[in-house]
Every structure is written in C-alpha cells, then in structure tokens.
Symmetry: D2
Subunit: 415 residues, 4 copies
C-alpha cells in the first residue's frame, strides 16, 4: 500500500456520479426517510462504514451525510470495490479508503484508517470492522449495526463471552432484510454474476446448490426458474426436508459431485467443496461461491495443484488430476472463489438494497437517539422500523393493501 | 344430542380399519417412535385429544395407546369427523365422542365428555378444549399440547393474563410442523378439496388468496403451480411485500373482488370477505375458507340474503343481489365456509401429518416426563425433538444429507 | 347385457340435471355458438356420439339437439360413465346406451346400438366407433369427427390404406384443443384423480412421468407445481431434450424405477411399465395411467401374480415378489390401470372441455354443411373455427387483446 | 467505410481465440459431426455466412472450414459483432467483413463483399443476405439455409411469388432449433442482457412481454422464474389463451402500459410499442427489444422528442413529455431498441447454439450433397437430422433414454 493511498483514481468521479444517480432513482425509499427527517439528526457524529463499495452503498452514505454525519468508508471485500463510486464519494467529501484489488494487508489497513477517525457509529458487513474495533479497543464507538448473518454470528459470540463493547443492531434480522436481500437480492445477483462470467446455458443444466438458508433458497428457486435441474445439499435436516418439499432433489455433496455442471456455495461455512468432491466432478464443472467469505470452496487446493488460466474475465481454468483419477479434467473457478454476485456482477440490485439500507439508516438513527438506554447486546431491528420500511417499499411500487378492521383487531387480541 | 351418543355408526369400524392401515403405512416415522420406546411410558395417564377425527389422527391416538395411555377423543370441528375412523377407534378401546355433523351444542358437549374423563394430558387443535378445560377448571391436567397457530394465540393470551393452568407445548411452532404442515399440507389439501368440490379448471383462473402466512404461501404457490393467475391480499406490509417478490400480484380485496374466479381465505382472522366484497364480485365466483374457524367468510350474510341451493355436494349456490347491484348474480360457497381441506377432501395427507404428529407424540412424552419441572407457560417444541423428526422423515424418504466436518463445527462456533 | 339394457338407473336423472346445469354455466362458449345459429342447422341429421359420458359431454349433446339433430350416445370407456348424466340425457330424449362398468362385450354392443340408428355424423373419442363403423360398413355416415390423438392415428392408418369411408375432422389437431385440453385439462384432472384416489402427499414425492407429449407436459408441470420432484421418461430424443430443458430430470424407466413414489403413464403406447420395472420399484410405489387405453401399465402381470386388495376406492394393493426379489413388496394400482382422470376424478373440467367441444360442435356443423365437397380424408379443424373458439374463450374470461394495426398487417405480408 | 476495411482490429485475434475455445468446449456436438465426417465433404465450395459474429458462430465457421470449405462471413446485425472473434476468424483464414458499429451502408456493403466471392452456399440469419443475393442475382449459389423465423417468412414470400432462386433449408423449423434456441436461448440471454444493462431487480417487478411465440414464451417463463409479475400481450387469440392458461395475466398493451416496470418486445412485428403506449407509461419504465429487427419499439419517436443521455452503457434515458401529459417522465431504452440479448449480453449460450448450428452444419452438408435433386423451395430440416442432433445433445449431457420395444413399434403402426 502506498502511504496515504485512499482510492484508485479520482478521475472516475463523474462516472461514479451517474451510477449513483441511477441507483438513487431506484432507491426512493431512502430518499423519503431523509426528506422526512430533521437534517441535523446525525450532526456531530462520525459514521464509519465497512460495506461493499457499490452504487447502492453510495446512496446510504450520502443519505447519512445529508442527515449531518461525517462519513468514512472502507470496503467489506477487497474485490468488490467500484472505483468510480469510491471516487465519487471522495469528491462529495466522504473519507474513503477503498480500491478494487486490495491485498489482505491493505484491506485490514483500510479498516484501521476508518477506525482511526474515531467513529461514533460503525456500520459493518461481515463483522471485520467490528472485530477490528474490538481488537483495537476503539472507544469512541457508541453503537453499531451489522448487515450479514455471518457478522451477526461473530457479534453474538462476543456477546456470549461478555466482550461486546457497544450495542449493535443486527439489521440482518429485520424481516424486510433477510426475507428479501438474502433470498431475492443474492439469488438474482448470483445468477447474474454467473451468467456474466460464463454465459453458461442454465436450462437443463445440473446446478448443485450447497446450503438452503435464505441465500440458498433464493439461488435454488431462481436457478430452477431459469430451467436448471437443481440439487440441494445441506447439513441441517430441517432445511434439507424443506428443500425436498420445495421440489428439489436433496443428497450429499459427494453423491451430487459427479453430475453437477455448476456448483454454488451459499452456506456461511468453511471447507464445503473439498478435494474429495473435486475428485468426483466431471470434466468442465464450474464452481462459484456466493457466501461472504472465500472459504467455502477450497480454492487453495486448486491453486496449489494446477496453474490457473484465465479463459474469460473472472473465470480460471484448472487442468487437474485429483486423487486416484487418471485423466486430467478441467475445473473452472469463478471470481477466485469470492462472492460471485459482487465480483462478477454488481451485487444486489438497488431496489432490494433500498430495503436493507433503509433498515440500516433508520437503525443508525435509532442508535444515535437511544444509545444511552441500550445495553451491550445484539439487538434486533425494532419492529416499527421493519413495518415502516415495508410500507415505504409497497408505496414505491404502487401497491395498496388492506387494513385490519376494528373487529379484526379485537379478534386478534381475544383469547 | 341423544343422551349417551358417542359415534355415528359402529358398523363402519372395518372401513375405518382399512383407512387407518393405509395411513399408518404412510406415517412410518410415528411407528419408529413407538417401536423405539418403552411401551409403558404413558402408563397410568389419560390423554384427551381434540383433533380432526381422520385416519392420520387414528395413527397418533393408537400410538399413544400402544405406549400405555388411556385415550379419549372428540373432534376439533363438527364437520371434519370421519365416522369410520371414529368407529374403528372406539372398537380399539378408545373413548370416542365424535360424529360428522354435530351441532354447535353437541360439539361442546363432546369436548366436555372427554374432559369428564379427567385427562392428565390434553392435545388440542384450535384451543377449544384448552379453553373448555380452563372454564371448567379441570384440575387433573398436568400439561398439554396445541397444534395450530389459532390455538397458540389463545393460549398466549391466557399466559399473558396469568390464567394459564398448565404447561403447553406449542407444536405449531416446531419447524418440522409449520414449515410443512401449514404450507404444504394445507396447501395441497385445500386445492384438493376445492377440486373435489367443484372440479373447477385452475389453469388461467383468477385465484385470490387472502392471507400470506404459511397457509396462504402454500395455497398461492400450489395454485400458481396448477396454472392459476394468483392475487394475494394481506394486512401485514412485510408479508405483502414477500408475496409480491414471490411474483404474485398484491392488492386490496376490494380491488381484487371484481375479477376473482375463486377466493380462498387463509388468515386466521374474522370477517375477511364481507358484504362490500360480495357486492363487487362477478357472477359465478366461488368462495372457500381454509382457516381454522368458519368466520373468515361472512357466510351468515349470504344465508340471510338468499336461499342456498346445493348444486354439488358441499357446493351451495346463492342467487343474490348485493348492495346497489341491479342484477342477481350467483355466488358459490364451499363447505358452508368451513375448512375446505377437511370438509371437502381428507385434510392433510398422512405423510405430512406424520411430521406434525411425531412432534405431538414426542411432545406428549416430553410433558409426561418433565411436567414437574415445567412452568405454566407456552413452550416451544424442544429443538432435539424437531431435529429428530426431520431426520426420521429424511430417512423414510431415503434421503441422505451431509454432516458437518470437525473443522466446520469449530468454524461455526468461532467469533 | 340384459336385452334392451340402455342405462343404469332412470332415477338418477334429476341428479344428472343439476350436474349438467353446473357444467353448462361453466361452458358458456358452447351456449354462444348455439344461440348465434339457426336452430335448424342439424335438422334431419342423426349424430352418433361415442364419448366419455360426463356432464361436459351432456352440454355438447344437448347443444346438438337444440340445433335440430337427433342424438345417440354410447361411452368411449366402460368405466367412465356417469350414470346420472346418462339418465338425464335419456330423459331429455337422447338415445343413450351407456352405464358404468360395462363388460368388454357390452361396451362393443353399445357402440353397435348407436350405429344401428344409422347416424349421418359420428363423433368419436379414441376411434372405437369409427373402427366399428368401418367394420360394419355403416353407409349412412356422411362424415365424422375425432377427439383424441390415439383415434386420429387409427384414422390416418385407414386413410393411408385407402379404406377411410368418409371425411373426418381431427378435432384433436385444433390448436384450441391440443394446447389446452391435453396439457391443461388432462394435466389437472390426472393429479386431481390421483389425489382423490390416494390422498398422497405430492410435495417432495418422486413422480415419474412416462411420456412428454402434451399430456405428459401437463402432468409433469403441474406435479412440479404441487411440489413434487419429477423425472420424465421418453423414447423420442427431441421430447426428452425438451423435458430436460424444461428443468426435469430425464432418464430411462429402468433407472427411475427404484426411486419413484408415483408413476404416471401418458404415452399412448402399450407395455410401457412392465415386469422388469415392477421388479425394481420400491415398496409402496403407486401406479397410474392417464393414457386413453389401459395397456400402458402391464396390469395383467400384476393381476396374475398377486391377489389385489382394494384398500381405498379405486386403489388396489398387490403384495408381490417380482423376478429375483426376495421380499414381498406392495404395489398400488389405481383405477385398474384405466384413465385415472376419468375414473378416479371427473375428467377434464368443463371450462377446458368447452374449448374442445366448441371445436367439435363447429366441426359437426362444418361437416353437415360441406360434406359433399369433402374427400375421404382426415381434415384438420378449419383455422377460422380455431380462432373463433379462442376468441370466445377469451371473451368468456373477460380478456381483451390487441389487434394488428394496418401497418403490421402490411409488414407481416411483406418479403 | 474505409475502402477495403474488413474488421476492426487484427490485434484482438488472441482474445478471440480464447473465446472460441471456451465456446467449442461447450459445443461438443458440432465437434462430433466434423470428426465423424470425411473432411473433404465441402471441398471446392465457398460458404457465405451472414450471422451474428459471436464465439458460437466461430465454431460453426471453423467446422465448415475443417470440412474443406472456403468460408466468408459478414454480420447479421451491425451492433452484434464481437471484434475479437472477427479478428480470430480472419487470422484463421476466413474472409471476414464485419465490425461492431457498422453504419447501415457499411452493413449492406459487407453483405455485398461476401456475395462478391461467389459463394455456392449461403447461410443467413434474418434473410438480408438472401434478399441481397436475389437483388444482385448472384448465380453461383446452389442452395442456402436460414436461421430465423423472420428470414423464413421473407423466403416463403419469395417462393410464393415464384422468385426464389435456389433451395433453402429453414433451419428455424427444426424441432431441435425452435424448441430450444428461440425459447430457452433467447429467453435466458434476453434476461441476461437486461440484467447486465440495467442491474434491475426482477422479483416483484411488473414485466410486460409483448408476443407469446417461442421467444415470448421463453422470456415470460424465465422472468416469472426470477420472481417477476408477468403480463403478456398478443394479437393471436390462441396464443393469448395459451399465455393465460400458463398462468400469465393477459391484456392489451394500452392497459398494461401504466404499470409495467419493464417492457420486452418479442413479436417479429413492427411498431409494437408506440407513442400512445409511451404516453401511458410510468416514470422510470424500461424498454427492451429482443426481436430480430429494431422496429418493434418506435425508437425514432423517442429520439425525435428528447435528447437521449446514456446513463449506463447501453441504457439511454429520455426525459420526455408525451401526448397530453403534463409532467416530464423518464423512459429508458436499452441497446437503442436493437436485439438486447446480442447487444447487451453475448446472445445465445454456446450450449443452445450448438443445437441450431449442428442443424446448420448438417443442412449445409445436405445441400452440398443433394442440391441437384432439390427444387427452388423452402425445405424443412430433414427429420433424421433433427433426431440425430437431439441424440447427440442428450449424449453430451449424459442422458440416456428409453427405446421403443418391438411390440411398441408394432402398436404405433397399427390402426
């Protein structure tokens, strides 16, 4: 890292602005939150964001800025930075430390740079910034929010061990987040990323989806919707049963390995696709990960057993002999095993991010107002925030719904 | 009610036996629970069941009996009794008070008859028996279980007000119950009931599904799966948004009323389809309810404004002029507005009831063993029961799934 | 057959009338054809029908009668007769020779009785009446129509060999017939029949669909729509490829035999499910045929190797050891291997039959008017009839569509 | 056009080679045709191709070359040329006249350049080269093939008027072409193109699909599969009815205009989306065409009434007031109204193009062998070619299917 490096190229700011404007037009519910609020609500506060640096994130960051906050931003993934967005946000006065292709060391440094600005509120995606803040004992922080399942898991472990330093709102647990962002947002953008990277033909392809949480549900449903024959693997018997009754074939990954044309990991786990699975795969199988961290596919095994050749942007071919195999076969790894929806496509579409980020923004406002009354715990998103986000989204779509009658309210509360 | 009347016709026992055996063969996971257990686990206890008297219920009741319990049974719905099953269970030594077509008074009397046997454990579906036990202060009861969302709501109200007399396990809240029973079981059997009653053509039909809880989700998905054009109505904005992103049209019932060919209520609410909706419906619209109680469609309005003619079994035609309308139109009400999947078809298929009833049976065993340590609260189904039910079901289907590696277990627990 | 026996029970006429009226209300496009036409168009002609004797057929028969024809009717399948409909039609003045459960001999006799009335026009379903007319050289006939793929195949063979005696319109080949009737009508009613017969749980069940013609496409799509995991078998490579790209698993029946929970034959072929397949099936497998003839499943093998026990109406259980197997297993055969949608349910819903029968009725009128100009050939339905049927159906559903602009008409005809 | 300009940049050849190899690996059925054949089959012939210059096309062109032909190529669309592929093919010895962004004049000149080489066989996509060959009376041509519906329509017009100069095989009419290419290939790549261009969120979006031919069927099914709420418009009543029974809302474009978030034209017609539709659209509506010619959306109206701003690559925003409207609204046009799947994405995936191009290649071989026996007519693809392509494709996927038994063959041929 060059000392003082912050972003890739300030000249990309205008391109970033167009992109920001496109996203903002499709995220009108964020706009409404800002418009409806006193613009001094975040005055005097610095908000540190560790998010994928995308056009959607720029809408959240700019909204926080318009509400009076100082804003600082680094990336939640070294490969997911849109350099034009970074440039645009810097031009608009945000402190940005992010560029596409950071090394692991640079990635950590960028997080530290944001924390060095002594934020009061920390908004994270994956928990790396929360973890760094705890390691560095950053004591300016009055509260935070967290976007992902993976991050919430880490925060709950901190809470259980009594080491959590500040209240955190688990935005991931809002119904308007996990029901839409993880399932539909990741679902669509994962297929989008795979199609952009490979142009592979989905109708009739055997797609193996590893994991049937919200993300896996979304990927599996949409892959089937495109015409693929989908098999699901799971370790949780209830989810496995759910997948089967949703009409998917369910089996072990070892049994599915020989016939998959495409494998997509969506587990939040480590070491899901391993040597023994590579060994049984057929020639030409394609491997993609859409979980937060790049540990779901054992890419290091591939890299240490064959020289990758980039046959299309983001598609590496490994000519490899695994285990007792006799013939070389080709395996294709997408995006080096990193989140394929962010690396190969643009991540979640703005419309769905507007739900998650409306929760983020309202949760930031909630922390700013109520932090003194909050404990060092992981909180859910307050239900009134959740409902208001849903209502705004329906409004934006022009959907009107019924309201309960007085008689129904009474009935609901009766014994 | 004739004094001492218990069931409709003892001669139906053999027919009931064949039906019981068919169900038992498709509910092998219940069998495995019984086989694996000491047959004296319920010895000395009387279990009072208030359930739909179906072939599937007979498998649960006989399993409890084989585990040593005395068993008594009444129906959770006056129209859902299979008289052959009632006869079979009586012949097998159960105390049965149930027949198809009980009056409201008889229905309540049957519940009282079961409670008069001083059961220790009460297993209910809808909460009417729990309510009656509380009104009558039946003090033999050491604990209970409850099958439905509607019933759990009533028990929670009792708990909140400090009046709950014994611990109850909310079987409805088990993942292996609500993820399958409500969505897939009710989903399939509701369409089955509607097709048996009407034979209506679903491809291209406009189906309006009121409510997008688990039942509504199941009905909507399966109606679409049959080719219908589905519109969803909801009062909860998050669920409404969910329906829309699942690809359904969402609007108010008033707006949907004019174009629906079929309306299905799945809300657990009262007064969902009302006069103002009837007024806007088109000639020939069909009305079905699959919620627990017959209050979702305002049938009383129909009955008091037109003379019903039964044009097919369970299908009543109302030639009616509503509100400012000038011309008579025909509206068809199925099963008098009662749960159409139970009245017009056979209720949930045995395969899915085996999940719910495995939870019931293991919860009954749990209460029998642990009641002294339990508080007067509504409990969830213990997670180990839930997982074991899922595993048994996968086994029964011949599905094998992955297990977490040691590395993954460690990863999951790490911060 | 009792000499002179015609129908089962004249007392069922009133029940049949209600059923007829229900169907007529749902088949409004037939009504419109009749209303719009001079009621003497068929005067002086006798139309002989060999159709499934259902409420929908009664609407067609009565429409022909209202247009001035004498009408005579026998059944296209010994098990598909609705006795109440037969009684109703007889009461209305039709010559009916049909009852449920005819023997093979009686079935043929009934056809002969209709032909003995010297019909001018013959409307058949499956080709048995056309075949009988050719064998008996019935020379009153000026033309005919045929409803099914199977029947058309037989007529084309007659045409090829130069033996076809009169012109026949292949109603099956109308787009408004095969695109809807075979796929959606048979698709829905087949699942309806299977659910009525067995109540089996479709979500997560392995369903093997044999044949991927229009009927197989419909059954497969709707089974998946209910949540089943569907495998398709085919002998035509193009259709097999089609099934796979529609997202279905495709393999040989021998490979699919071990895991199917339900097998449905839709091939129009003979000997599709045979001894070698039975041998590999699992305990409890269910077998249903929805093709026209009862030759698709080798039922005679089952009947000659085990004593069937009827465990539910229309469900026979065979406890059987096949081939090298050691343990007895249970196989269930529905409706004795006959068309399950007609035997176990009510056949096609009236809404879809109204399309087929509108084609039938307009084709009968076409023959009556144009027979002198027609050759002894199998004709398609004239395109203007097809389009008019589609328009009427859209009207009945309240669907408005675009019309081509003048510019577009010109463009379409340009080179 | 610079005199003698042929391609954009010879330096792109290596990039094109990698792309060609990726495609070839996914189009193994083409390989098998070549390998199985005498490499002199096309010796002495020049084949002139007018196709989209994509990696898939390069596999077809190289296969013809390996079979002995001289090959010449121009583009079937000025915007669909991959310049790297053009460079690669030129390097490999093909005569290539194609670059991205040809003017209309250059586009026609390129076609003339290919015809100037006096090809014996002409393989076209859309019919522009056939039309030019007829205008220029190129008499070297012994026969041709045509890829699209649009092109076949033009050739049939020539045939009807007696002006067709040589036999043409309508590859479009092969079952292995239209059942897969048009529906699944265009279906997937159209959504792929729209997602690449806009990143728009499909779940819950209102998508209006104009036209329900094979392409429309594919786009509608896959849009629904991604979670969109889909409305279909049609001018053919039978297709409209088909769409409705497939579960889609069907209405006029004027009625659908106000609520569509995305409009996709798939009609093969002209002037489908016009001023009166723009007038009723909502702010932010997105317009895409996937039909062959750029006449389906009236883009010239947009260009002449507002200044387009390119807000993302291939996405032009028009701030426009239409008709009696008072407020400006934004409409977004993708790819200037040209085939969005080719311009914004990569066109059909190689796996599906391998079906179409296997038909092309075998049809070229068929013409080369049989042209003397063929008339000046539009022929279908011989059925044995069709079946062999399907078998090869199943083989490539590892799918085994059943074969007819002797008994079944006999049964099929019986009367």
């Amino acid at each position: 890292m060059l000392p003082g490096k912050k972003i890739a190229d300030t000249n990309l700011a205008q391109k970033g602005r167009l992109s920001h404007e496109w996203a903002r037009a499709r995220m009108s519910i964020i706009e409404k939150i800002v418009v409806g609020k006193d613009s001094k609500l975040l005055e005097g506060l610095t908000v540190g964001f560790c998010l994928h640096v995308t056009k959607e994130t720029s809408v959240l960051v700019m909204a926080a800025k318009r509400l009076g906050a100082k804003v600082a931003l680094c990336s939640a993934n070294p490969l997911s930075v849109r350099d034009d967005i970074a440039a645009f946000l810097q031009q608009e006065g945000a402190s940005v430390f992010a560029w596409r292709g950071e090394t692991a060391q640079e990635y950590r440094d960028c997080i530290r740079q944001v924390l060095a600005l002594s934020p009061q509120i920390v908004t994270d995606d994956g928990g790396d910034m929360h973890a760094a803040a705890h390691r560095a004992k950053v004591n300016s922080i009055i509260g935070g929010t967290e976007e992902t399942t993976s991050g919430v898991k880490r925060l709950l472990a901190l809470e259980r061990s009594g080491r959590l330093m500040y209240p955190v709102i688990a935005v991931n647990n809002a119904r308007t987040k996990y029901l839409f962002d993880n399932r539909h947002g990741t679902g669509q953008s994962t297929l989008d990323g795979i199609m952009r990277a490979t142009g592979m033909f989905l109708p009739g392809a055997h797609v193996v989806v590893c994991g049937y949480g919200w993300v896996g549900k979304g990927v599996a449903a949409k892959a089937r919707g495109m015409g693929a024959v989908v098999t699901v693997t799971e370790v949780d018997p209830v989810r496995a049963l759910e997948a089967r009754m949703d009409g998917f074939e369910v089996t072990t990954l070892l049994d599915a390995a020989p016939y998959g044309d495409l494998f997509v990991t969506c587990t939040g786990q480590t070491g899901v696709i391993r040597k023994e699975h590579f060994a049984k795969m057929k020639d030409g199988a394609i491997l993609a990960n859409t979980g937060h961290f790049d540990v779901e596919i054992d890419a290091s095994f591939l890299y240490s057993n064959a020289r990758p050749e980039e046959v299309r942007p983001g598609v590496e071919r490994f000519d490899i002999i695994v285990a007792g195999g006799k013939k070389k076969k080709k395996l294709y790894l997408l995006s080096k095993g990193r989140v394929v929806n962010l690396v190969a496509a643009e991540g979640h579409p703005p419309e769905v991010m507007s739900l998650s980020f409306a929760n983020q923004l309202m949760s930031i406002l909630h922390v700013a107002k109520n932090y003194e009354k909050m404990e060092r715990k992981v909180y859910g998103v307050p239900e009134e925030i959740d409902l208001q986000v849903a209502k705004s989204a329906l409004d934006a779509m022009g959907v009107r719904i019924d309201e309960m009658t007085e008689e129904q309210k009474k009935y609901q509360n009766s014994g």
